[in-house]
């Protein structure tokens, strides 16, 4: 079944091509429909891949072909317990975005067809990143997502602020590209000393051929590249602007999927391929992650724009993921992977909701949205409250298990790592969790509760309540959040074996 993954990667790209070639006359009308069909097809293929590969040991559905033999670059792809949930998350979120686009994105900014095509290209890049098993191939897919994202933010972003959205897009692009350039240098360093771009082979060798100095250098370079994407404090500065200015579908994909590419890279490449370097840098990563958790949560308290608030909350959540990775233990890595998926689901939902509110009120400012949403649109407000509770990590919903396992990993990090530092980071994570609770209940209180003012009621648009299509888009996310909250074993059963292999292989 080795052909499954190339098909999976190619399907959205083919859809994008199809849309590009579609005759101009009814392209805009047909665009979202084609998008839904193509992304549904991709989702179907990914489900098939999941069914085939779920719970099996090791890398499955592998495919291999020589691409640029003279440069030692091959097409190598495969999925295992680490990448499979991420692939499923990607196809699900893209499908939901396409469904959300069916009702029209906004007041005619750019063309619908182009937006859909760009999103499909984005999907190709992301899925390719998750299934690639060759460093250069990984890099190529990693970069593919950047330009479409630039267009999505710069053209279809906040309609009221053209200069701002262009600046946000450019900042995002430039920072990520600088990081990626460093990452590529790291890859080349690895290839020079270890002799191969094959991720599996490099992971199995565990840094053979590279002295500690080289590994440290490579780890710094590669780590910086992923740290910009993750994002790690203080390289997070692109995130709030990019999320706030992006359109709803852009924010959902950016937060739900693109951020995962960075942390996935840490798990797949940074930890196994340059283990000595990772070990030396792990305490620093942990400290920066802990700072990110607290910093992100505190910044959220002072936000007045809902989308910026959710963006900063992403910084906090990814801080947990990075802390889990920095522990270099199976528990920590499991926690990081579960937190990844949970964050994708919950923050994707939050951005959908924020986008819905922004569409209805013209701005995501809390003051503009008004109070008493429970009275004006009860279902929307209820889902917002549930999403807020999930995002703050309440046990029983998906967000908790990732955070908890991360903190458990920090409680007992890998041998050789300074335990005191990690315990301090764990406590910081706990404090961050309380502050996270504070700002989310603050948001719920500010937006959902309270008496709606006369102005709010007077300005009420006819479609204040969540529409059926919106509920259909959001309910899979809510359902999965509850499901993974009550039965995290579904996810852990597939990530744990892969993590054990990953950490066991290099030693």
């Amino acid at each position: 079944m080795g052909w499954l993954l190339p098909v999976l990667v190619a399907t959205p790209a083919a859809g994008a091509l199809l849309l590009a070639l579609w005759p101009r006359a009814d392209a805009d009308r047909v665009g979202p429909l084609v998008g839904v069909v193509v992304s549904a097809a991709a989702a179907l293929v990914s489900v098939v891949a999941a069914v085939v590969a779920w719970g099996r040991e090791g890398m499955r559905l592998e495919s291999e072909a020589a691409w640029i033999p003279s440069l030692d670059v091959w097409w190598r792809a495969g999925v295992d317990g680490i990448s499979l949930p991420l692939v499923l998350l990607t196809t699900l979120l893209t499908l939901l975005c396409m469904v959300a686009l069916l009702r029209g994105e906004g007041p005619g900014l750019g063309s619908e067809r182009s937006l859909v095509a760009l999103l499909l290209l984005l999907e190709t890049g992301v899925i390719g990143t998750f299934v690639a098993l060759d460093l250069v191939l990984f890099f190529v897919f990693f970069e593919i997502v950047l330009v479409p994202m630039w267009f999505v933010i710069a053209i279809w972003g906040d309609p009221k602020d053209p200069a701002g959205r262009r600046r946000a897009a450019t900042t995002f692009l430039l920072l990520t590209v600088i990081g990626s350039a460093l990452m590529l240098v790291g890859f080349l360093l690895v290839h020079t000393y270890a002799g191969s771009f094959d991720m599996l082979e490099l992971a199995a060798n565990g840094g053979l051929g590279m002295s500690t100095q080289v590994q440290l250098l490579a780890a710094v370079a590669i780590g910086l590249g992923f740290a910009v994407k993750a994002p790690m404090w203080p390289l997070h500065i692109w995130l709030p602007d990019a999320h706030a200015k992006a359109p709803t579908v852009g924010s959902v994909l950016l937060a739900g999927v693109l951020l995962k590419m960075g942390t996935y890279g840490f798990v797949r490449i940074w930890v196994p391929i340059v283990p000595e370097g990772a070990r030396a840098l792990a305490p620093y990563l942990a400290c920066l992650a802990a700072v990110g958790i607290v910093y992100g949560s505190l910044a959220c308290l002072a936000q007045t724009d809902l989308k910026r608030l959710v963006a900063y909350s992403s910084v906090g959540h990814m801080g947990f993921v990075l802390l889990g990775i920095a522990t270099l233990t199976p528990v920590g890595l499991n926690g990081a992977l579960v937190a990844n998926i949970a964050h994708g689901l919950i923050t994707g939902l939050l951005f959908f909701l924020a986008g819905a509110l922004k569409d209805r009120h013209g701005s995501a400012e809390l003051a503009t949205i008004g109070r008493g949403l429970y009275a004006r649109s009860p279902r929307l407000a209820a889902i917002l409250a549930v999403a807020a509770i999930a995002s703050l990590g309440l046990p029983g919903l998906a967000g908790f298990w990732g955070e908890m396992l991360t903190l458990l990993g920090a409680f007992d990090p890998a041998a050789g790592l300074p335990r005191g530092v990690f315990l301090a980071c764990m406590v910081a994570g706990g404090v961050g969790a309380v502050v996270t609770a504070a700002y989310f209940v603050h948001v719920v209180r500010r937006v959902c509760q309270g008496e709606p003012s006369e102005l709010d009621l007077a300005e009420e648009r006819p479609q204040a309540e969540a529409s059926t299509r919106e509920l259909a888009t959001w309910s899979p996310l809510v359902g999965l959040t509850v499901l993974l909250g009550l039965a995290p074993g579904l996810l852990l059963a597939v990530t744990d074996p892969a993590v054990q292999v990953l950490l066991g292989a290099g030693s």
């Binding site: 009221k160 602020d161 200069a163 701002g164 959205r165 706030a244 200015k245 936000q303 007045t304 910026r308």
Partner: protein, 124 residues
């Protein structure tokens, strides 16, 4: 006579030619400097040809090539100088700066920077 004399003369001629190309303001004088450089090279070629007693006389053959090319080049060069004179009414090399990358480009960049730095919404 020894090889030294033609070589020294050629070197001196070349130096004068370089001076002419780099330092003279008049375009025609620049072209004359180019001619001097080419002729210095010719002298060099002929001298070495005689010294090495080349059977195929490659030096002298190359000299003929260079003379022909120099002639063609000076024809074109003077034609360009004539065109420049017709449009600018001068052939002062120092004053021909249309290709410079200042002023117009600077203004465009400053405009872009002002637009980009405009406060994009007061969320902070």
């Amino acid at each position: 006579m020894s090889l030294l004399y033609p070589l020294v003369v050629a070197a001196l001629l070349f130096a004068i030619g370089v001076y002419g190309v780099l330092a003279r303001r008049n375009a025609v004088l620049v072209l004359m400097g180019v001619e001097l450089m080419l002729n210095a090279v010719n002298l060099n070629l002929v001298a070495f040809d005689a010294y090495l007693r080349d059977v195929v006389h490659s030096g002298q053959v190359l000299t003929l090539f260079v003379i022909a090319i120099a002639a063609a080049e000076i024809g074109l060069g003077l034609a360009i100088v004539l065109m420049v004179f017709r449009s600018h009414r001068h052939i002062d090399v120092d004053r021909m700066r249309e290709l410079s990358d200042t002023d117009a480009a600077d203004a465009a960049m400053a405009r872009d920077a002002r637009v980009g730095a405009a406060p994009g919404g007061g969320e902070r």
